[in-house]
Subunit: 439 residues, 2 copies
């Protein structure tokens, strides 16, 4: 928690509440003021501890998603509405520096997800002749349900020069190089990466602040390879959340695994029982990232009948074309005048577990728009993110089928791609990825 940089606080500052955002949590600013009011420079966490009488973990604060746990946050967490994700290339050759980076990231993330500024000095360090430890643009904002999820790319373990960081014996078999799929138009500068950081929050400025500060901390050790801001979630991860819409205007992720589905999470998302090279991944999962440009201009000129036939659901309610409501199971056998009511090449049919060896995934993607494409069109689409137990069984077959058979594919172009091993959660005192380096 920061001190106030040696300058007197203006009168009334200690009474200030976050005014800009409507979240219910404490803001970095009000926590700061609370510490200042105590006059003893207590860390904000300590202030909360004292109030709740616990010495172990901070008491729950509205808008704060707990950081410590068996799994990393930001996977089964109720999907936040905004995201900033970035991949990094590690530039140091030194294993200790890489571990130190992960330790510093862990400490920064622990502070940020609680709505605190980073470091002892915060945004207005007491040392006027040093750069601040926090860049400050989120200082008046609340924690906003920020989660930061970190993963490791295959190139962290080995690249063209061979093994890296002494991790040659630790590459999980499941951390494959994704194959080329039909129609892929991947851009090198939007693909791959040694590390990935997925920051999700109610407030995009909080998510951007997180990525930006982790990039700042990484200076000299890792640098941004690609980054993507997503403005609207396209999946729900809780049965209590309404299903949002993608840029085709359809509800997306109706069949998603929800945090309430314990069996599906155990079977399709979390790694368990792994031995050998990948044993450090138990409690972890794999993050598949795909930047999918949507040809929204041609889509918008398609008749509603075609749009619904491509998706296999109605546009208004999201019910399968075989009838019922959004969460009714599609009946692929039900025939209409011209064939199955749910066409065999519709997205819902091709992606359905019954056509994919029963596999399911936990999707957590976001709508994006990145300016225009120079041809008079918006560059917009879906930044697809899914968490799966093994991409070899849970992503590659389905994406192969979709690229070949899904009628929707003619409106899609995959321009970025990544697969990352997301290590298990962190225990108090530990750091992200500790099992990779120490066990």
């Amino acid at each position: 928690m920061s001190t106030h940089g040696g300058r007197p606080l203006p009168a009334g500052a200690q009474q200030e509440e976050p005014r800009r955002r409507k979240g219910k949590g404490l803001s970095r600013r009000s926590l700061f003021a609370a510490a200042g009011a105590g006059g003893v420079g207590l860390a904000a966490g300590a202030v909360v501890h004292a109030a709740y009488g616990s010495a172990r973990e901070p008491a729950p604060v509205a808008g704060v998603v707990p950081f410590h746990g068996e799994h990393q946050a930001g996977i089964t967490t109720d999907a936040q509405d905004r995201m900033h994700i970035a991949a990094f290339d590690v530039t140091t050759q030194d294993r200790d520096e890489l571990v130190a980076l992960l330790q510093e990231w862990t400490a920064a993330i622990e502070a940020m997800v609680q709505g605190q500024e980073i470091g002892e000095g915060g945004a207005t360090s007491g040392d006027y002749d040093a750069p601040p430890e926090d860049t400050g643009e989120a200082s008046d904002l609340t924690a906003s349900h920020l989660t930061v999820t970190v993963g490791f790319g295959r190139t962290l373990f080995q690249d063209d020069g061979g093994a890296r960081f002494g991790l040659e014996g630790r590459l999980p078999e499941a951390l494959i190089e994704l194959p080329h799929f039909p129609g892929d138009a991947l851009e090198e500068a939007r693909s791959g990466g040694d590390l990935v950081v997925q920051a999700c929050a109610d407030d995009p400025q909080v998510a951007v602040h997180a990525v930006r500060n982790l990039a700042r901390i990484a200076f000299g050790r890792a640098r941004v390879r690609w980054s993507q801001i997503g403005f609207g979630r396209t999946s729900s991860t809780s049965a209590a959340q309404a299903t949002p819409r993608n840029l085709f205007g359809f509800k997306d992720g109706t069949a998603n695994i929800k945090s309430q589905d314990a069996d599906d999470l155990a079977g399709h998302v979390w790694v368990s029982g792994a031995a050998g090279a990948g044993a450090w991944m138990n409690g972890g999962t794999y993050l598949v990232a795909r930047r999918i440009r949507m040809h929204i201009e041609t889509w918008d000129r398609s008749p509603l009948r075609e749009q619904e036939a491509f998706i296999g659901r109605t546009k208004r309610t999201g019910a399968p074309l075989s009838g019922g409501e959004e969460f009714t199971e599609p009946d692929f056998a039900l025939q209409g005048r011209g064939g199955p009511l749910v066409p065999a090449d519709s997205h819902v049919a091709v992606a359905h577990p019954s056509n994919n060896n029963g596999v399911r995934m936990l999707r957590r993607g976001f709508n994006y728009t990145d300016g225009s494409d120079g041809l008079g069109r918006l560059d917009a689409g879906l930044f697809f993110i899914a968490f799966v137990v093994d991409a070899r069984t849970h992503y590659v077959p389905m994406q192969t089928a979709m690229a070949k058979h899904d009628a929707l594919s003619e409106y899609l172009r995959h321009t970025g791609s990544g697969l990352f091993a997301v290590p298990p959660g962190v225990q108090p005192g530990g750091y992200i990825g500790q099992t990779l380096f120490e066990v």
Copy 2:
């Protein structure tokens, strides 16, 4: 207002409230349901009319910013937190087609700002063999204080081929070509444009939906030249709003004109008393757009002392370095050990009205981040938007001074630019820009 596409509503749909966003307004979906419950296909506006007993204007709905008025909305409107702005090149050569486009845009904007779907058919037109009139991705969201502000670029009046659309006698003197400023690194593909559309809302998906649908409506007549999404506002336009922070971590826009400052709005923002070529602009204003890349990586390595000296304010409270609190007027004469407490080349000094012939502006910019720059850094900064009565007096001199003397300039690079004449507001039955074409 849409009908439901010929399919029966699922049971319970008419009771559904918007669940995804926490806004208080009616969603497009619940308005739809209300119309459906009425069973007579009433427009949503009419439903609200009936409830309030007025036949002229809809009664106020939470989250709805009124569209009609003396001035366009989205200028003095309390600055919303999210924005999507796009410029268009007009591709038709036909004046009537241009007017028709503006009329269709007006009708679409009128619907969208009320949280309604566009057109009679909406997102799920009754005609299954036609493309829907609304793309649908905002159908479950509320109006979210959406405003859409439209302006005209100089190239709408004349381009390399000479006069366009018979507008040769209508080019206002103030709609100049902005000069080249020292340090400008403008990209053609991020600059200029015949038309501009600024969509602001509490929810970015609502703002993107607006731009995307106006682009869809423009098909064959105008096409996107550039677009920019902004994730966090950097100015307040009301004394009731807290001052937000830019990506340097400082409060930005403390000295902004607020909607409560009637004299300043009259003197520095709204065009009045214009005669001749620019008479149609009375009640309008000029929008200056500048995409300003910030070198945040080097900024983040600057000591706090330097950062505060560059800005001329403290980082924590935003008070001028001469003392007081955020809204205290800076005292440029007050001396410290090494010179003025507020350095003469600080941003607050160079931009202050006392150093700019007393001019002020109404700023309405947004933080942005657009992926990375290929050199390991985030492409992030400020999308500067200001509304001024005349850029020749209210922007060009100040920007010239800042580019030459503002110490902050070394951390900034202007990569996009535009100046647009924003016509006055629209009366019921009228359309945006009517005074340009008809008076």
